[in-house]
Symmetry: C2
Subunit: 230 residues, 2 copies
């Protein structure tokens, strides 16, 4: 069975990606990063999701990105922005952008893929709702695949890596429908940027907002547990 | 003063690179990775070198690559190869290759550069003595710079990153001469793949061998402290 490394944050998107990789016939090796994110409940969610979706392995690599800071997700001095329901976010790149995060995550996934003999990397980036994040764009993903061929033993020996981003062009509603069709139990996932230790969501950050609107637009019941149940 | 991020392992090569970056007029922000390498004495060496060469800052980012293994440097079950003096190493990619290491290191350096507003990354890769490592080749370095422009806020806003590898085409003897000419105190550095806690070198691994031969060929006194002084 061919192996794939699947980046699994524990959120709705990456859970759906894991389900897609399984549907595509891969033995899935799920990789989570403990990078000092304030929403640490997502790591527990990742473990639940990996087990529920039959991952062959789940590893959590520790990488303390708080050392370099620069993001609301890794620097306690930068607040996570919240918006009233239906309000637009600020234009431009959000302060929740973690500098070079997807480059770092894909690089670590690439290293593990070499060790496993896997030629396929899956990542749940999305260029629609997260269009403000530079490292969620198709051109970035394509360039990383070019780099991977040059960076590795596999590439020297004539092999190539496929970097698969099956959600990149989907709306959040389409992602919800896709995940539901593949049997993802969204109740296991945590998307909130400031989820508490129990995984309860704030309901107000960008990630909560996109998620809530996605369930509504998809016509799928939203199983998210909010701190202030409304 | 323009800022640069300089990857600093604590070895001879990266110490020379830091000296080059300083000569080039940059305020140098040195970055070391505590990735679970067996030769941990190099981290203490990196701190000494950063101080001696006037780095504006020195950060050590923890990233546990032992989680994925796959290299003699990160997996205690894989031995570091040693060779008799003058003997050739095995052909191909050495088992000391850490899968995707330079991709990971440059990605983290890129993240810190974004936080600092630095547009220049320095890395001590070398395609001559380390020609067996895929991620030490000029094509890899050039491709990473292309990726960096796509991966970042800086790139979206029209900026670019320069990835500088000033040693890439030099022999070890030329690196020794360059470092010496820029005032690097090589006694502060540790190159050995299996240095002990005190920083004493084995004298037998590939890294020791290249280093020893480099000092000899350069006609520079070798200040390396070996466990078995010979």
């Amino acid at each position: 069975m061919k192996r794939a490394v699947v980046l699994l944050s524990g959120g709705l998107d990456s859970a759906t990606v894991l389900a897609v990789a399984r549907r595509d016939g891969f033995e899935c090796h799920a990789l989570s990063l403990d990078y000092g994110q304030r929403h640490r409940a997502e790591l527990a969610a990742a473990a639940r999701v990996a087990a529920a979706l039959g991952a062959a392995a789940h590893k959590v690599v520790a990488l303390d990105l708080r050392t370099i800071g620069g993001s609301a997700l890794t620097d306690a001095a930068i607040a996570v922005p919240t918006h009233a329901a239906g309000a637009a976010a600020e234009p431009g790149i959000p302060v929740t952008y973690v500098p070079a995060r997807n480059t770092v995550f894909l690089a670590i996934a690439l290293g593990w893929a070499e060790v496993l003999g896997a030629a396929d990397l899956y990542i749940g980036v999305n260029a629609v709702d997260y269009s403000g994040y530079p490292d969620c764009r198709p051109a970035f993903i394509a360039k990383f695949a070019e780099l991977a061929a040059l960076a590795t033993r596999t590439g020297v020996e004539g092999g190539r890596f496929a970097v698969r981003a099956p959600l990149i062009a989907l709306s959040k509603a389409e992602i919800v429908r896709l995940g539901a069709s593949l049997g993802v139990d969204f109740a296991l996932t945590v998307s909130c940027y400031q989820a508490d230790a129990a995984g309860l969501a704030c309901g107000e950050c960008d990630s909560c907002r996109f998620r809530r609107e996605g369930f509504a637009a998809a016509g799928v019941a939203d199983p998210t547990r909010y701190r202030d149940a409304r």
